[in-house]
């Protein structure tokens, strides 16, 4: 069988054996549920409820704050305790709606009804996806409805279901493929109905042979869907790398996948699309992996969004040793947490707890210019040159080296034998460039406004002078 892949990358310890055979367990947990208004890329949602209101599961708590934004729905029924900033995984407090779960799980009207989606128009399907609050569940959190609205539906020739799960230790997508394959295929079929020329590709890394054969069975006889096995390599599931692996096409940071005729959605997102469109169930739950060598019982659990990681971990049996490092997401791109009292949000995919902190145990030494980062960079960048530019505050130089193409995947820092914090330096430099651009844009706007005002004034004066002359 053909093995698809991209150039570069690395192969970190997969660590999936810990939890890959743990079937998905559904957890219904009591207590407080926190729904931050910003769980997606784009404008934050605007809260619609106030403290004291009673809300139902599936009810809209906050409304999309723009085109690129998403609604936030309650995953439980109960009373709104507060609308206030709450600590997030990012380490920053974000305005959140806090709901006390009453344990009744009373749903909003119409939820859970089976729907014959084949009779729906494209617009209806897109609206349903939008109303269901679905965003990319793989980690980026891009509003899915926006993704499903490219300029030209006919120009899309690949719809890729991303089941590669290249992040080490994560197994939630694998379990979804193993247990919820029908929903994934259903979601993919719904998406394909929007794009007449698209071929559906379910892309899975070859370290999950059972998932590959299972999905192959499920799609046999379906003309428009194929399963592609990918070489197991990080970051095979990165959107740009995945498109390149499957189609040979390249996109850069300034392009959308649709510019290369592709749309990529995570398999969990497709299952959520199926639920929303065929089962009238908006995005309220998510499968996450609880894993790591400090976790007592690694597991894949389906939880309601908004529950705190602390409650989930405790329900899974807690820690067996002290965790030096807690990571929301995987070890390559996940966010380190200093405490667990943060809510599970839409892009959350895992909680990893490690007894050792490899970063602290590996002090930085001088760069020996071995070039391993250059070989590994999936964006074909030259990290040592970028570091030089970034650490000398040469932002123009950093941009000239295509620093803004960096997707912060962490491969360079992973492969560095001198343990240099390359990715961290690039994250910082990229933020500085973006802040710089913002300032420049604001200055430009101000200057333009000033010029326009001056012009208007001059015109008025001219008109007044003319009027005076005619008199």
């Amino acid at each position: 069988m053909k093995l698809f892949t991209f150039k570069g990358g690395a192969h970190p310890n997969e660590g999936k054996a810990l939890s890959e055979n743990c079937g998905i367990r559904r957890l219904e947990l009591p207590g407080e549920y926190v729904f931050p208004v910003s769980q997606h890329i784009g404008a934050p949602a605007k809260p619609l409820v106030a403290a004291g209101d009673r809300v139902l599961a599936g009810q809209k708590l906050a409304e999309a704050g723009g085109f690129i934004s998403a609604d936030v729905l309650s995953s439980v029924s109960g009373t709104v305790k507060a609308v206030e900033p709450r600590m997030q995984v990012s380490g920053f407090p974000v305005m959140s709606v806090v709901v006390e779960n009453d344990g009744l799980y009373e749903t909003a009207p119409g939820i859970g009804e089976k729907r014959d989606w084949q009779g729906l128009t494209k617009e209806e399907i897109r609206q349903i996806v939008r109303d269901a609050g679905i965003v990319g569940l793989g980690g980026a959190g891009f509003p899915t409805a926006v993704k499903l609205m490219p300029k030209n539906d006919e120009a899309i020739d690949y719809f890729i279901a991303n089941g590669s799960e290249c992040e080490p230790f994560l197994t939630s997508d694998y379990r979804m493929l193993m247990e919820e394959g029908e929903r994934i295929v259903g979601g993919l079929e719904i998406c394909l109905s929007l794009f007449p020329n698209a071929k559906g590709i379910i892309a899975i890394e070859d370290n999950k042979p059972e998932a590959i054969s299972r999905m192959e069975k499920l799609v046999s006889g379906k003309e428009r869907i194929e399963v592609a096995s990918l070489k197991t390599k990080y970051p095979e599931g990165g959107e740009r790398q995945l498109i390149n692996a499957v189609t040979g096409r390249y996109i850069n940071s300034g392009m959308l996948p649709a510019d290369a005729g592709c749309i990529v959605d995570n398999v969990a997102t497709l299952a959520a699309i199926y639920d929303a469109v065929a089962m009238s169930t908006p995005l309220m739950e998510k499968v996450i992996t609880i894993t790591g060598d400090a976790v007592a019982e690694p597991a894949n659990v389906q939880v309601r969004l908004g529950i705190s990681y602390k409650a989930v971990l405790e329900a899974c049996g807690g820690l067996k040793t002290e965790a030096k490092k807690l990571i929301c997401g995987g070890p390559m791109m996940g966010q380190a947490l200093f405490e667990l009292a943060c809510p599970v949000t839409k892009p959350s995919s895992a909680l990893c707890a490690f007894a050792h902190d490899e970063v602290a145990e590996n002090p930085t030494t001088p760069c020996i210019r071995c070039g391993r980062c250059v070989e590994a960079c999936p964006e074909f960048l030259v990290p040592p040159m970028m570091v030089k530019a970034a650490t000398h505050d040469d932002l123009a130089g950093f941009e000239a080296l295509n620093g803004m193409e960096c997707m912060e995947c962490g491969t360079c820092a992973y492969v560095c034998p001198a343990r240099r914090p390359l990715t961290q330096i690039f994250k910082q430099a990229r933020k500085m460039v973006m802040a710089d651009r913002k300032i420049k844009a604001a200055e430009k706007k101000q200057r333009e406004e000033h010029e326009a005002a001056a012009k208007r004034e001059a015109e008025q004066k001219l008109a007044a002078d003319k009027a005076a002359e005619t008199v």
Binding site: A10, P12, G91, D157, P168, T247, R249, Y250, I251, N252, S253, A260, K324, K325, L326, I327, P331, M333, G334, Q335, A336, L337, F338, E339, F354, D357, V359, A360, N362, T365, P366, C367, I368, R369, C370, G371, V374, E375, P378, E379, F380, L381, V382, P384, M385, N402, E405, E408, G410, T411, A413, Y414, V415, C416, P417, R419, P421, T423, Q424, K427
Partner: protein
Amino acid sequence: MEQTAERKKLAHVSSSPHFRTPVTTRRLMLDVVIAMIPALLWGVYHFGFYALVVTIATVAACVISEYVYERCMKLPITIDDGSAVVTGMILALNMPPQIPLFIPVLGGVFAIIVVKQLYGGLGQNFMNPALAARCFLMISFAKPMTDFTMPGAVDAVSSATPLAVMKAGESVSLTDLFIGNISGTIGEVSALALLLGAAYLLARKVISIRIPGMYILTFVVFMLVFSGHGLDPYYLACQVCGGGLIFGAFFMATDYVTGPLTPAGQMVYGVILGVLTGIFRVFGASAEGVSYAIILSNILCPLIEKYTVPTAFGKGRYVELTKKLLVENKDTKHVAKEGR
């Protein structure tokens, strides 16, 4: 009190990624040392125990001078990274077998302090420390540095290196040359032992084939055209196996610090090395020239790097490629539809 207890519970935070490869700088240096052991063993077997003494003294000189310098300058002590050991070993393997001990020791001190530490230590030197030291010693102690008399030898032929013999118009045994049954420096004589080490480095992915491959290939092509011997396999094989070319190509030109980072730059670097070595051997007075070719190319490295930055993913030619693919795709679809 409660606050401190609470604070203790907080986990570490750091920017992602949270994993690190098991390959460390020390591991890479250790691999290079391991790869040089076959050549060293052959040197000791072929030239006698004194070769080992030279090697140990040179390595010790490098490590101790690094320690003393860092101690005096109140810098963190970095001798455990293994880079000084590698420098010492390369320098030692570049020494004639009968060299008086003070010469390689002086070379070791020069390599570490002048070439490496004065420029900022590991990763900052622009010339290969061992080779710069060798060239320094060649200029300072020309006679002992070019005295390749075999221990116990009486006739003059056995004291000349095979390439010098060939330059003088006589012939040498290719088998002896390949196995290392010749005169030369401690580590350069056995192509076989060196290739064993090179295979280890390639298999461990410590080095890529780009630099040594392009180096040797270019050199062979250059010799084909300019040596005046034309397509003479015996002559070419002798040129490749002799004069430390294999040692230089796999162990010295691949030095991370002083070679280009970019894949294309490494190819260009290999070509320049091959051409320079060819020029030195064909048109120069000396029969070897690998060391000078490498340190000259070291100086060109920043320039090479500047012009060989790879095209970023999805930029430049990749945009064109994608456009082409999209057009092709449309065409095939169109044809398929018409066919139906």
